[in-house]
C-alpha cells in the first residue's frame, strides 16, 4: 500500500505544474498515459527532487543514440532485477 499521498498536479505551484505537464506529454507519447503516473506525482512533495529527476529523465531517457525501445529494455531488466513491482 502506498505510504505517501499523491500530489494533485492541478493543485500544484506553477513551476511544479509545468513539470507535471511535460511529464504527461512524454508519458502520453510513450505509452498512452492520460494522467501523470504515480512515480512522478509522489516526487511533487519535494519540487527540487521532481525537477532534478525530470531533468535526468530527459537527459538519460530521451537523448542519445539508442531508440526508446532499447532504453526501455534495459530499464525493464534493471527493474526486474531490483524486484521493483511498479
Amino acid at each position: 500500500m502506498t505510504t505517501i499521498r499523491m500530489v494533485d498536479p492541478d493543485a500544484s505551484s506553477d513551476t511544479t505544474k509545468e513539470i507535471f505537464d511535460a511529464v504527461l506529454r512524454r508519458e502520453a507519447t510513450v505509452f498512452g498515459a492520460t494522467s501523470v503516473s504515480n512515480i512522478w506525482r509522489c516526487m511533487g512533495h519535494w519540487p527540487a527532487l521532481l525537477e532534478a529527476n525530470w531533468a535526468r529523465s530527459r537527459a538519460l531517457m530521451q537523448r542519445g543514440r539508442f531508440t526508446p525501445l532499447q532504453r526501455e529494455l534495459i530499464a525493464t531488466a534493471v527493474s526486474i532485477g531490483n524486484a521493483c513491482t511498479y
Partner: protein
Amino acid sequence: MRLGVDETGVTEVMGVTEHTRALATAAAGLLIESLDSERALVPPLDPGFAEGPVKAILGEIAGWAETAMGRRVPPVLWRVLAHNPHYLEATWRKEQALMSDGALSARDKRRTALGVAMAIRGRYLIEYNAAILRRAGDEDRDILEVLGVVDHYTTLNTLSEGMQIESDIRPPA
C-alpha cells in the same frame, strides 16, 4: 508490452535478466574478479588438457570468443565450469539460445545484459558483456548510455519501492 514489444519480447527480457544474474552469481561465487583474471575458487581448466565433449565445447567457445570478443581463449568462467561437463554444456547452450537474435536483437539483449550486470555490480559480467558490445561496434558513449538508464531506474526503483507506490501503468487492452 510498451513500445511494441509483445509477450515473446517481454519473456526474452526476463530470460536475459535471470540468465545474467545467474552467471553473475556463478562468477562471484567462484571469486572470479575480472575477465582477465585467472584466479578463481576453482582453477580454470587449461583447454589443452580438455578431453571429449568438454574439449569440443571449449573449442566451440574459443571460436565464438575470437569472433565476438577478439579473444582466442575461452573466457575464464567457461573454463572453470569445464570441470563439470554437464554444467558447462547446459549453461553454454543456454547462453547461445538466449543471447542470439530473437524477437529482440542479439545486440539489444547484450546491452540489456550489460545493464543488469551494472545494476548488480557484477564486475565479471560487466566486462564480459562490454567486451562483446565493443567488438560489435559500441563505443564509450554507448556504454555510458546503458549506464545512464541503469542509474536513472535505480533512482525510480528506489523511490517507488521506498514509498510502496502502486503501479498505475497498465498494458494496452
